[in-house]
C-alpha cells in the first residue's frame, strides 16, 4: 500500500536527500549545540548517584533530537492520567506512546522529519534508501540500538512461520531487503521503485521495524537460539512462534504492552502491563529516551502515564468530567458528550481543544456493485440511480438534527484542508431536490410503483436496499440512516437498516451477501494512502469487493474483472506507487480522483465536523488543534513528550 504526500512541495524537500536535509535539520535543531549541558528528571538523580544508571550524557545519543516546545520550556514531574478500554484498545497506546520510528511527520502532517535516523539518502530510481541512525541510541534497558535491530525486525516479519505481517516489509510484489553497512548505517533495497517509503516510514506502520529488539527477542527465534522451541514448550506453548508473539509480537500490541521486559525506544516504558485482568496500565519515563528540549533537558517532562482500563465509557466520561483525566479524546469525546464536557470545564478544571478528523464524509453509503442478484447489480452500478438517491437526501436536515448544524453537505472527496480538494467533486449532487431525484430514478428505470409507493425494479420487485451498519461503532450512523430512510421513502426507495455486529459485518464481504454497507469517509486527508472510495484499492472498498480482489490478488476465487474505468484507475495507482517524484505522484492521484468524480461510485452525506479533545488546564505545550488519523498518531505526533504540568 502507498502513502499520501500531504503537501507536494513540502514533500519534494523531504525527498531530496541529505543536501536539503541538512538545511532542514538545522532549521529544526537551532539550539542543538553539542556543548549543550544535558539535564535529567529529578526522579532519576538518585539512581544515577547510586550508580545503577549512567549519567544523562552517556544515556543520550551524541546528537539527541531537540524538540521545539509548543509554548515554552517545561518542568519535570507529574503523571498523565487517561483511560483505555482494554485488550481491544491497543490502538490507544500506539497513538499515545508508541510513535517512535526512523522518521516522523511534523505537526502539520506535511513534512517527513528525522527521528531515530538523523539523515537518509534516496537513490533517484527510488529503489535504494540509505539511513544513518543517531550515534549512541539505547533501548530502554540500556543496550545500544543499531542497524542489526532493524535487520532482525525485517527478518522476523518476513519469516513465513511467524504470523506477523506488515503492509510494507513483506508485501509479495515488492518486499524490502536490508543491507547492514555498519552499526549506524543500513540500506532498504527494493526490486521495484517504492516512491512512498518515506511516508510509510513516517506513519505508525513505520514503527514496525523498531518493535523487535534483537538482543532481547532473538532468544525466542530458533535461527538465533537453538533452544528456542524447547523454551517455548517449557512455557506451555506449542512452538516458538507463540512465545515470540507473547514477548515481542507486532500487530498484537496488546501482547507487547503485556510484556514489561520488552525493551522499547519510547519516552515511557511499561511497569504495570496491559494484561487481561489489568485494571490500569502504568508507564514510567524511559531514562534512555533520545530527545531533549531546547535547553538540553532530557524528555519527557512527565514522569509517567496511568491509563485506567475500563469497559465502561460512562465511567471514563465521569472521570474526565471530574478532572481525573489529564488528556484524552479517544472514546469519550463523542458528539453527544460535547455539551456535557463543555459545561463541565470549570468544575473539572479542563478545556476543550480542536481535533480535525481525517475522514471526509460522516457517512458513506456503499452500494454493492458486485451483487450476486443481477437486477440489483445492474441497478447499483447505474450512475443515475446513485445520483437519484443522492438528490433525495436532505443533507442540511441531517446536519441540523444529528450534528446540530455542524458541517456542510459533502460527498466522499478530499477535505478542504487537503491539497487534493476539489469543490466540484465534493459538492456534486448534494443539493436536496426531490424532482431531480425522481427524474434520475426514472432514468434508471424505476418508473413503476407498488401500492406502498415503493418503486419497482426491472423484474417487478420493489427497490428495497438492506443497509448493514455497526451502530456500536458510531451511534450517529443509526440516527442518520433513520432520517435517510424517511427521506428516501419519499421518492419511493425503501432502505432497511440492518444494525449488526462487527464480525458479521466483515464476514458478509467475502460471502458477498449484502446490498450496501455504511462506513466513515476515510481518505479525506490521507488521500493517497487511503483511496478505498476513489477506486477499488483494497479490502475496505466494500462497494466493489470483487474488483478489489482482482486488483490485490489477495482472494482470487472471488475476484472479478472490474469495469474499464476502474481498471484504468488501478493502472494509474500502480504507476503512482512506483513513482519516485512527488509532483508526478500528485498528478497521478488527481487523475484517479477525476475518474472517481466522473463515476461517482459511493454516496456521501456531510463533512465530518471537527472533534475535540479535553486537556487539564495545568497541562501545557498541548497543540491547540490536532489532526486525528490512524496513520498520523494523535497525540503522539504532537510530541506529547514535551507536555508538562504547571
Amino acid at each position: 500500500m502507498v502513502k499520501r504526500i500531504p503537501h507536494p512541495d513540502a514533500h519534494v524537500r523531504a525527498a531530496r536527500s541529505s543536501k536539503v536535509l541538512a538545511a532542514l535539520l538545522s532549521g529544526l535543531m537551532l539550539s542543538a549545540v553539542p556543548a549543550l549541558a544535558f539535564e535529567q528528571a529529578p526522579m532519576l538523580d538518585e539512581r544515577v548517584e547510586s550508580g545503577d544508571l549512567p549519567p544523562v550524557d552517556e544515556r543520550l545519543p551524541k546528537n539527541p533530537l531537540v524538540v521545539e516546545p509548543v509554548e515554552g520550556i517545561g518542568k519535570y514531574g507529574g503523571v498523565w492520567r487517561m483511560g483505555m478500554r482494554g485488550g481491544d484498545d491497543n490502538g490507544l497506546v500506539a497513538k499515545t506512546a508508541a510513535y517512535e520510528g526512523l522518521v516522523r511527520y511534523d505537526h502539520k502532517w506535511e513534512k517527513v522529519v528525522p527521528n531515530l535516523a538523523e539523515s537518509w539518502e534516496i537513490s533517484d530510481d527510488a529503489t535504494e534508501y540509505t539511513f544513518k541512525l543517531r550515534e549512541g541510541l539505547k533501548w530502554s534497558d540500556g543496550q545500544p540500538m543499531t542497524s542489526e535491530d532493524i535487520a532482525f525486525a525485517v527478518e522476523m516479519f518476513q519469516n513465513p512461520e511467524y504470523p506477523a505481517n506488515s503492509n510494507w516489509i513483506d508485501i509479495k510484489d515488492n518486499p524490502v531487503k536490508v543491507e547492514v553497512v555498519d552499526d549506524l548505517t543500513f540500506k532498504f533495497i527494493f526490486d521495484k521503485p517504492n516512491g512512498m517509503l518515506m511516508d510509510t516510514l513516517a506513519t505508525i506502520n513505520g514503527t514496525q521495524v523498531l518493535t523487535i529488539p534483537k538482543h532481547y527477542c532473538s532468544q525466542f527465534s530458533p535461527d538465533h537460539n537453538p533452544d528456542a522451541d524447547k523454551m517455548a514448550k517449557e512455557e506451555g506453548h506449542q512452538n516458538w512462534t507463540f512465545l515470540m508473539q507473547q514477548k515481542c509480537a507486532w500487530g498484537w500490541e496488546s501482547q507487547r504492552w503485556a510484556n514489561p521486559e520488552l525493551p522499547v525506544m519510547y519516552a515511557w516504558r511499561i511497569t504495570e502491563p496491559l494484561t487481561g485482568d489489568a485494571a490500569r496500565v502504568v508507564w514510567e519515563r524511559n531514562p534512555y529516551y533520545f530527545k531533549v528540549d531546547a535547553e538540553g533537558n532530557q524528555l519527557p517532562y512527565i514522569d509517567g502515564l496511568d491509563m485506567r482500563v475500563s469497559r465502561s465509557l460512562e465511567e471514563l466520561t465521569l472521570l474526565a468530567l471530574n478532572g481525573e483525566i489529564d488528556f484524552q479524546d479517544r472514546h469519550i469525546a463523542t458528539n453527544a458528550n460535547q455539551a456535557v464536557f463543555y459545561d463541565g470545564q470549570e468544575k473539572g478544571d479542563y478545556h476543550l481543544g480542536k481535533v480535525i478528523q481525517s475522514v471526509s464524509s460522516s457517512l458513506v453509503l456503499q452500494l454493492n456493485f458486485n451483487h450476486d442478484d443481477p437486477v440489483k447489480r445492474a441497478l447499483f452500478q447505474d450512475k443515475d440511480f446513485r445520483i437519484g438517491l443522492s438528490h433525495a437526501i436532505d443533507r442540511q436536515e441531517i446536519i441540523d438534527v444529528v450534528f446540530i448544524g455542524q458541517g456542510e453537505p459533502f460527498q466522499v472527496a478530499p477535505r478542504p484542508e487537503s491539497p487534493f480538494y476539489d469543490e466540484e467533486m465534493a459538492k456534486q449532487y448534494t443539493e436536496f431536490d426531490p424532482e431531480k431525484a425522481v427524474e434520475r430514478l426514472e432514468a434508471a428505470g424505476l418508473t413503476e410503483m407498488n401500492g406502498d409507493g415503493i418503486r419497482l425494479m426491472s423484474d417487478g420487485r420493489p427497490a428495497r436496499i438492506v443497509v448493514d451498519v455497526i451502530a456500536a461503532l458510531r451511534p450517529e450512523w443509526i440516527d442518520m440512516l433513520e432520517l435517510m430512510q424517511l427521506q428516501l421513502a419519499e421518492v419511493g426507495v425503501d432502505i432497511e437498516i440492518n444494525n449488526i455486529d462487527r464480525t458479521l459485518f466483515y464476514d458478509k464481504r467475502p460471502s458477498n451477501d449484502y446490498d450496501a454497507q455504511v462506513w466513515a469517509g476515510d481518505g479525506g486527508l490521507d488521500v493517497m494512502q487511503e483511496p478505498r472510495y476513489y477506486f477499488p484499492s483494497g479490502e475496505e472498498s466494500v462497494w466493489a469487493y470483487k474488483w478489489q480482489a482482482w486488483y490485490t490478488g489477495a482472494n482470487q476465487q472471488i475476484a472479478e474483472e472490474p469495469a474499464d474505468w476502474a481498471k484504468e484507475q488501478m493502472a494509474l495507482y500502480d504507476e503512482l506507487k512506483g513513482e519516485g517524484d512527488a509532483d508526478r505522484r500528485a498528478e497521478l492521484m488527481r487523475e484517479i480522483l477525476a475518474i472517481a468524480k466522473e463515476n461517482f461510485p459511493v454516496i456521501g452525506v456531510s463533512l465530518m465536523p471537527d472533534g475535540y479533545y479535553i486537556a487539564k488546564n495545568n497541562l501545557k505545550n498541548v497543540a491547540p488543534s490536532m489532526i486525528n488519523a490512524w496513520l498520523f498518531p494523535e497525540p503522539a505526533g504532537y510530541d506529547a513528550t514535551q507536555w508538562y504540568f504547571e
Binding site: D88, N165, A258, T275, G276, S312, L318, Y506
Partner: protein, 331 residues
C-alpha cells in the same frame, strides 16, 4: 445421608460436564471465530491485518478444527492436567487471567447475598406477621422497587449522582495503591469503600424475591399448631415468632441460595460493565464478543460449577438446619 451425598455428587459431575459442553457450544454459536472478530476490531480502528496473516494465525490456533475436536482438546486438557487452554487475545493460560477476577466476583456476590438476607428477612417477617397492613405494603413496595429498577440504570444513576453530589467517581473495586496488592485488612477496607455501591445495586435486585419467599413461607408456618403451643407456654410474642415459625420458614429459604448465584452472576455482569468492576463479568462479556473461546468457555463453566457448588452447600446447610432431612425422616 451418605446415599444422599453420593447421589448429589453424581448429579453434580453430570451437570458440570453438561455445562462444560453447552458453555463451549454457546461460544461457537455466533458466526466467525476469534480471528474474524479480531480483524473486525482492528479495521474498526483503522488498522489492517492481511488475509495472509489471518490464515497463518488460523493455522497457528488450529481454529479450522471441527467443533468436537476442539471441545475434546479443551476438556481432555482440563481433565488431564487442569489446563484450561490459553486465551487467544491475551496469549496467556486462561487460569492466569481469571482467578483474581473470579475471586472478586465471589466476594462481591457473597456480600450482596449477605446484604440481601439482612434486608429481606426482617421485611419478610414483618410483612407476614402484619399481613395486608400498611407496613406490609410499604415494606413490600420498597423491596420490589429494587427488583423493578433495571440494574444498569440504577448503577449509572448512582454513579452520576455521587459525582454530582460528592464529586467522586464510583467505579472499580480498589484504589490504585491496592490494585495489585495482596489481601490485607487495609486492602479489605479499601475494597469496601468502593464495593458498597455495586453491592447495593446487586442486592436490591434480589431482595424482593427473598422477601416474597420469606413472607409466603412464614404465612404458612404461622398457621401451624406448634405456634399456638409455643404461645401457650407463655413466651413473649416476638420470641414465639422468631424461635419457631421463622426458624422453620428459613429452611426453604436456605435452599434458594444456590439458585441466587446464577441470577447474581448475570446481573453482576451488567453492573460490572457499567461500573467497571474487575470481576469475571466484563472479562466474560469481552471474551464472548471477541470469541476468545477457551477463556469464555472456562468462565461460563466455572460460573456453572460455582452455582452447582452453591446448590450443594445450600442443600448441606438445609440438612444441617432441618432434622427431618438430617435424620432421613419423612420430608
Amino acid at each position: 445421608m451418605l446415599r444422599f451425598l453420593v447421589g448429589r455428587l453424581i448429579s453434580i459431575v453430570l451437570t458440570v460436564w453438561a455445562i462444560s459442553f453447552v458453555a463451549f457450544a454457546i461460544i461457537q454459536l455466533p458466526p466467525g471465530d476469534y480471528l474474524t472478530a479480531y480483524m473486525a476490531e482492528l479495521s474498526a480502528q483503522g488498522e489492517r491485518v492481511s488475509p495472509a496473516e489471518l490464515e497463518a494465525l488460523r493455522r497457528q490456533y488450529s481454529l479450522g478444527d471441527p467443533f468436537l475436536v476442539q471441545y475434546w482438546k479443551w476438556i481432555s486438557g482440563i481433565l488431564a492436567h487442569g489446563d484450561f487452554g490459553s486465551s487467544f487475545e491475551w496469549k496467556r493460560p486462561v487460569t492466569e487471567l481469571i482467578w483474581g477476577r473470579l475471586g472478586n466476583s465471589i466476594l462481591l456476590e457473597g456480600l450482596a447475598v449477605l446484604v440481601m438476607w439482612l434486608v429481606a428477612l426482617p421485611i419478610g417477617i414483618y410483612a407476614a406477621v402484619r399481613k395486608y397492613s400498611l407496613g406490609d405494603y410499604l415494606a413490600t413496595v420498597f423491596g420490589f422497587l429494587g427488583l423493578a429498577v433495571p440494574n444498569f440504570l440504577f448503577a449509572l444513576v448512582l454513579m452520576y449522582l455521587t459525582y454530582v453530589w460528592f464529586g467522586t467517581t464510583l467505579g472499580g473495586l480498589f484504589s490504585p495503591a491496592f490494585e495489585r496488592a495482596h489481601w490485607s485488612l487495609p486492602r479489605l477496607w479499601d475494597f469496601l469503600t468502593y464495593a458498597w455501591a455495586p453491592i447495593i445495586v446487586l442486592a436490591t435486585a434480589g431482595t424482593a424475591q427473598l422477601i416474597r419467599i420469606m413472607r409466603a413461607n412464614l404465612l404458612d408456618e404461622l398457621k401451624k399448631p406448634y405456634v399456638t403451643t409455643a404461645r401457650s407456654k407463655g413466651l413473649p410474642e416476638w420470641k414465639v415468632i422468631v424461635k419457631y415459625p421463622v426458624r422453620v420458614a428459613l429452611n426453604p429459604l436456605v435452599s434458594t441460595i444456590g439458585w441466587l448465584l446464577p441470577t447474581l452472576v448475570s446481573s453482576s455482569v451488567i453492573v460490572s460493565v457499567v461500573m467497571n468492576l474487575p470481576t469475571a463479568g466484563p472479562l466474560l462479556l469481552r471474551s464472548l464478543t471477541s470469541q476468545d473461546m477457551y477463556l469464555a468457555g472456562t468462565i461460563i463453566m466455572l460460573l456453572g460449577v460455582l452455582t452447582v457448588i452453591g446448590t450443594l452447600i445450600s442443600d448441606l446447610i438445609l440438612a444441617w438446619l432441618d432434622p427431618r432431612i438430617r435424620h432421613g425422616g419423612a420430608r
